[in-house]
Symmetry: C2
Subunit: 187 residues, 2 copies
Amino acid sequence: MTTTRTDRRERPFVMDEATAILARTPGILDAMLRGLGDGWIAANEGNNTWSPFDVVGHLIHGERPDWMPRVRIILEHGEDRAFDTFDRFAQFTASEGRTLASLLDEFATLRRDNLRDLASLRLTDADLDRRGRHPVFGIVTLRQLLATWMAHDLDHVAQISRVLARQYSSEVGPWTAYLRIISGQPG
Amino acid sequence: MTTTRTDRRERPFVMDEATAILARTPGILDAMLRGLGDGWIAANEGNNTWSPFDVVGHLIHGERPDWMPRVRIILEHGEDRAFDTFDRFAQFTASEGRTLASLLDEFATLRRDNLRDLASLRLTDADLDRRGRHPVFGIVTLRQLLATWMAHDLDHVAQISRVLARQYSSEVGPWTAYLRIISGQPG
């Protein structure tokens, strides 16, 4: 038992740690979704909420016009050029007629290529402080962009977990009270 | 484009579907956690919240005195005998000195064995309606117990995602506003 207990709520951004987690996401999605029945893949939380199928399409779209292009805009243009706006609904047309398996394959390939491109930039700590311009937030740093890329993945992993769990919202009966993922109580 | 759009928010409990998802959880945890640095494994959300290491220990404990013993109590005793109370903090002593890899291995083995035992019971729809007594909620059905087992897994997958993402709560800067997993906005 140690007497000094460090705060474990936050960590500073470390490139190798962030990319190690980013590299895991395709495998996490595979373990969760590949081969799952269509009813589960198409499940959602009502109205215009997203299904697991929609989420994978959204993550694919992020690999193309979003994360790495924004890295390059920061490195090449700094604050002078705002990022392009990210289309949060692109997947609804782009994924049409696709199978989930092909989306998972594509995401894995894009992610691997993007992480290779990122590594090839050999970013220094000074680079991570470089600033760009977000169309809504204004000034952001390259470090913030990369930290967000990771957190964004995990946000969608949690979302897929929630959509699947809530398929049994009624079936769990009184246990709803203990299941924050169904009750929506803050975690 | 179909004109009839079915509600995709909930599904009825189907044994083969629930066990197919339960069988995925060890692989999901592996993809998320195996080989991850100690700082991430020990990360938490402050105070007495759980780390990914704690969560895996909790899931192991569930495989032993909780889920399958409760199935058996319902089948053997019905409403006559209340379930034993589940110790939500057992993992803090049981996991002491263990490595995450050994916990992940143990969880995978226990889960596989439990799903094999469950299959060997060849439960019918009539069995799923059988009733037992929860120490807090009172009457519950076997179907509710099994649906909860699945949702409980996914609750903890979402929790691990959240604990990891929140390690970068400060590092994401203004993007917090778009990251529900960090901001805690309802999903």
